[in-house]
């Protein structure tokens, strides 16, 4: 018989055999396809982060330059000064293509609603370095010098769609920021994913770097040295043969030209140097670890699934016992039996992988929706050739593994002997020891996964339940300004005008309360230090600018002292307030009232100590420490509380402001409820994912344990029949079950707990941002999962015991 016909026959036989076992096929396919789909989604993340090249120009040569600053209290890195970045850009000789990059918010007054958009300031090389695909028009011309402001702008496709309705004649149209008009010269295709390191990958428009008024043409308002920006960086490709160390040395040499000016301008620093890092490292940050963590968890799930499916194959082998025995007696060699089993497993695995790929495509789409802006390179997730190779490889490997395990279990000699000497005793094809090991292993893996899901849950619960320190329901925070007003009005005049504007809002029928301040309930937080009179400086601590009525309005208690005086709010006095945790950092006794610290201003007196402000995203680093500065009237920072059910829109705010002064613009507008939801978004996702992971793990483990015991009890059904015939009561039989199943199960739980304790203690520092051990969460989870597993163990036994002993003796 030709090989093709043999194969065809085998495949037909396999299909017919599987058709007669729909429950088995469904169980295997559901288990494997769901687990593999999860693995494929996570793998695509790992693939993007670690394997696939980034879509940039010459990734191996692409570096990011930042600065590292030494101060008396330590070294800070990752915050850059314009002076140093611009100096390095102009004087370096290591890079081929190079661009400084710094995004910023810009209000476009020429567009309806005067939206605030994200503008990325960069040089023309940006478009080459990041391979920016242009949908229409062009990017910046190469010949424009750094300092020269340009009146050209490039917009994103989403921006074009939203504000210009995708009009075909977009090139040549203008947008205005209230001071300057910019001509639209190009549209970037929506397939472009801006680098995550800049404003989490969000950019609406691109402007020439020389147009950035934070540095150029700003009249020296801000100190260009100690006014530093996390998002300001140099990005470039190294010249051929140039290493990272070469670049670093080249830039370090250039510092000498500006060292004196630097040290004078950045008073609290003692030294600074360039920090050169490969692009991928900066772009991914610690997100790579997160993906590996997810991969580890998913591989654990896969292991449980594999054990489960092995059990199902064992049961099937038992069901096909007589058929296999007959084939063996008729002369079928072991290889042929293996090949028959392998055909079945191949069909099952290929089908499962196909379903998994389909599910993972949907899963990747969902993941992109959830994680855009939260994780880098999310839009690059896709089912690519790497993933397909993994899928095919896995399907073949698993098919072979299951076939091998099943055929090994089918003892060839015992099969023949059984048929030849029918009925002698019982042929135990899997030793009791193996079954116990299977149960212990299954329960260990499952418990480990459940415990770790619990630890993630605990962390998230703690974050979500921890009182933040501010009301958010029906609360809105906005910053309004009048261009140039600070040059005209005195501080006192501006202060008075602030009070008028506040009163204007209070008069609105839907407004409940108004206070002064820029709410710290924000995705992004700025930080500062405090230096005492002995020149001892704290680390960077979150800060906020608020008025005297802020605390009473938002519900954050002033524990000691008082709130800000009007003099401080008018700029006539320098005052500061701190949270309790910060007070204890400044002085172990916590009694810092009346003490003087330098910060933004010199000699600020601590006038009040408040409850801690626990920003959900910063609690791990800052543990509630926060600096409160008096909100001086450089702009109009208000927090407005509406009556329930009323939405205060940006338009409504602008309308109210412009009744007071038609020149008002809004710099920032936030619904605190929505902002809070954005802040805790990842925590909520983690919460749901943890619940799903725990439930899925429990389901797989229960199915697996049920399968193992069902199979094992199936083999021992005859033995139990004999025992019942000899007079064994239920209690005796359950005692056997305890010894053979419950004890290994409990051992698995204990092992999992021990492993968790060891891992958690060893890697506490790395794990603590994501995991927290709290016995009040872990214990119920362990008890529930153990309870369910015990029930899964007892269930198969109950069936045997409830039936008449004769059924067991007949092996029914």
């Amino acid at each position: 018989m030709s090989a093709f016909i043999k194969t065809k026959t085998q495949v037909n036989l396999a299909f017919r055999s599987l058709k007669n076992a729909p429950g088995f096929v469904a169980s295997v396919m559901v288990t494997m396809s769901l687990t593999l789909a999860t693995l494929f989604v996570v793998f695509s993340l790992v693939n993007t982060y670690f394997i696939k090249p980034l879509n940039v120009l010459d990734e191996q040569k692409l570096f990011v330059v930042e600065q590292e600053v030494d101060t008396p209290v330590g070294t800070h890195s990752g915050y850059q000064s314009y002076k140093s970045i611009v100096h390095w850009y102009k004087t370096q000789s290591s890079f081929d293509k190079l661009t400084p990059v710094n995004p910023n918010n810009v209000i476009l007054t020429s567009l309806p609603g005067e939206p605030k958009v994200v503008a990325t300031f960069a040089m023309p090389d940006y478009f080459d370095l990041f391979k920016v695909p242009m949908l229409l028009g062009q990017s910046f011309a190469d010949d424009l010098p750094l300092e020269q402001a340009s009146d050209n702008v490039v917009i994103s496709e989403a921006f074009w769609k939203k504000y210009f309705d995708s009009t075909p004649d977009i090139i040549g149209k203008t947008i205005n920021d209230g001071e300057r008009a910019f001509n639209i010269i190009g549209v970037v295709a929506k397939s472009f994913e801006p680098p995550y390191m800049f404003y989490s990958g969000k950019t609406d428009i691109w402007l020439h770097f020389g147009s950035d008024q934070r540095f150029f043409n700003n009249g020296e308002r801000d100190n260009p040295w100690d006014n530093t920006y996390k998002s300001l960086k140099l990005v470039g490709t190294a010249k051929p043969g140039t290493t990272k160390e070469n670049i670093r040395k080249n830039l370090d040499d250039r510092i000498e030209d500006i060292r004196a000016e630097w040290l004078e301008g950045y008073e609290t620093s003692t030294d600074f140097r360039p920090l050169v890092t490969p692009y991928r490292t900066i772009e991914l940050g610690d997100k790579g670890h997160l993906s590996l963590f997810l991969l580890a968890g998913t591989l654990g799930l896969l292991l449980i699934a594999i054990v489960n499916v092995c059990n199902l194959f064992f049961s099937r082998a038992l069901a096909q016992h007589k058929t296999l025995a007959l084939q063996a007696v008729l002369g079928a060699k072991r290889r042929l039996l293996f090949s028959a089993i392998l055909t079945q497993t191949l069909i099952l695995m290929v089908s499962s992988v196909a379903v998994a790929l389909f599910l993972s495509a949907w899963g990747i789409k969902l993941f992109k929706q959830l994680a855009t802006g939260k994780l880098p390179l999310v839009q690059s997730l896709t089912i690519d050739i790497n993933l397909l190779a993994v899928a095919i490889g896995l399907s073949l490997l698993l098919a072979y593994l299951f076939a091998l395990v099943t055929s090994r279990l089918v003892d060839y000699k015992a099969l023949k002997n059984q048929l030849q000497s029918s009925g002698k005793g019982s042929v135990n094809q899997v030793s009791a020891r193996t079954v116990k090991i299977l149960i212990t292993a299954q329960m260990t893996f499952a418990s480990l996964l459940i415990i770790f899901a619990c630890l993630a849950l605990t962390k998230t619960h703690q974050t979500l339940e921890r009182p933040m320190g501010s009301k958010v329901d029906n609360m809105y925070s906005f910053i309004a300004f009048i261009r140039g007003e600070n040059d005209i009005l005195s501080m006192t005049e501006r202060f008075d005008k602030n009070q008028k504007v506040k009163e204007a809002f209070r008069q609105l029928p839907q407004i409940k309360k108004v206070s002064t301040g820029n709410s710290p309930v924000s995705l992004r937080v700025t930080k500062s230090t405090l230096t005492d009179m002995n020149a001892k400086t704290t680390d960077f601590v979150p800060q906020g600018w608020v008025g005297s009525d802020y605390f009473e309005h938002t519900g954050l208690k002033v524990l000691k002292g008082r709130t800000f005086s009007d003099e401080a709010l008018r700029g006539e006095k320098n005052e500061v307030m701190v949270t309790q945790s910060l007070a204890y950092l400044l002085d172990p006794s916590g009694d810092v009232l009346g003490k003087i610290y330098n910060g933004h201003e010199e000699k600020n007196e601590v006038v009040g100590i408040t409850e801690d402000f626990n920003h959900p995203n910063y609690f791990d680093q800052d543990k509630g420490k926060h600096i409160w500065w008096p909100s001086r009237p450089f702009s109009y920072n208000l927090i407005v509380e509406t009556k329930p059910g009323y939405t205060l829109s940006q338009e409504k705010i602008l309308q109210t402001l412009r009744k007071e002064d038609a020149r008002f613009n809004i710099w920032e507008y936030r619904s605190l409820e929505q902002e809070f939801e954005r802040i805790i978004y990842m925590d909520i996702i983690t919460l749901y994912l943890s619940y799903i992971l725990a439930a899925f793990t429990l389901l797989l483990a229960s199915v697996g344990i049920y399968g193992v015991l069902s199979y094992n009890l199936g083999l021992r059904r005859f033995e139990f029949g004999i025992r019942m015939a000899l007079g064994a009561k239920k209690a005796k039989l359950y005692k056997l079950l305890v010894k053979d199943a419950i004890v290994p199960l409990l051992l698995g739980v204990i092992l999992a707990n021990l492993i968790t304790l060891v891992i958690y203690n060893q890697f506490y520092e790395s794990l603590s941002p994501w995991l927290t051990f709290d016995i009040s969460f872990v214990l119920p989870a362990i008890l529930i999962s153990t309870g369910i597993a015990i029930y899964a163990s007892i269930r198969p036994m109950q069936k045997i015991i409830k039936a008449k002993p004769m059924k067991a003796l007949r092996n029914e």
Binding site: G423, K424, G425, I722, R723, L726, G727, K730, L809
Partner: protein, 264 residues
């Protein structure tokens, strides 16, 4: 059945009363809308010291009858008394206790537990006793039972180290260890060659002579004749019962002989 004392214990052994009494017993199986009457209208008394054989062609209901006698299954109709205890409303545990105290089983395929030694196999029913026996009591009974079947010297071995005949002897020892009121024996020689079969039958004969009540199912007419009482089943009904083998063997019109010829 609500009793303050276990019904299993409330028995009186009397030489005049039957150990087992079946009245109008019937057993019907239902399978895919088909009704199969395995047994009909069975009336039977087994007295102490009886040696009863139940024979008949394949599928006549012999094993079903034996499983009912052994409380491994329950009749569809009829009454079954064992040691004066009505088994009708007994719970599973009460039935198990009854089996353990009063019935010793010997199966066709021996049914020893491979993972246990011969000693442990024989001791197994003793470990299920409500009144816990001491280790020395268990040892004594097991040794005694193994001695009766001449298998004492193999007590440390495993079942798969014994021949078929030896395994069957151990199975008999297991049945005897509990000192039951009756031995139920299902085709004891079915899986043995004639020499081993004869040896096992000798053991059973000797046990009966010593006073053990035996109820044996067999399709082998030679061995059926060893019993002092014989009943013959056909299609789930008792068609003949006899006290002597010779009558059956000499009667060519006997349904037993007719069915034996049909089987050939």
């Amino acid at each position: 059945m609500n009793t303050t004392t276990s019904p299993v214990k409330a028995v009186k052994k009397s030489k005049q009363e039957p150990i087992i009494s079946l009245k109008n017993i019937a057993k019907t199986y239902h399978s895919s809308n088909i009704e199969i009457k395995a047994l009909s209208d069975i009336n039977l008394d087994i007295m102490p010291g009886d040696y009863l054989s139940i024979s008949g062609p394949s599928g006549c209901g012999k094993s079903t009858l034996l499983s009912l006698l052994g409380l491994l299954d329950s009749p569809t109709n009829g009454e079954y008394f064992i040691q004066n205890v009505d088994t009708h409303n007994l719970s599973m545990d009460q039935q198990a206790e009854l089996r353990n105290l009063h019935i010793g089983f010997v199966f066709q395929s021996f049914n020893l537990i491979d993972e246990l030694s011969i000693f442990d196999n024989v001791a197994l029913p003793l470990t299920y006793r409500e009144e816990t026996l001491t280790q020395s009591e268990i040892e004594q009974r097991v040794t005694q039972a193994l001695a009766q079947v001449e298998m004492e010297h193999r007590k440390s071995h495993k079942p798969n180290q014994l021949s078929g005949g030896q395994q069957q002897r151990v199975a008999i020892a297991r049945a005897l260890a509990g000192q039951p009121s009756i031995l139920l024996v299902d085709e004891p020689t079915g899986n043995l060659d004639s020499k081993n079969g004869d040896a096992v039958m000798d053991i059973l004969n000797n046990l009966n002579k010593q006073g053990t009540t035996i109820c044996m199912v067999t399709h082998d007419v030679r061995y059926a004749g060893h019993a002092s009482k014989q009943i013959h089943l056909l299609d789930g009904k008792v068609i003949e019962s006899s006290l002597a083998q010779e009558d059956m063997m000499n009667n060519a019109n006997s349904p037993i002989n007719q069915s034996a010829q049909a089987a050939v």
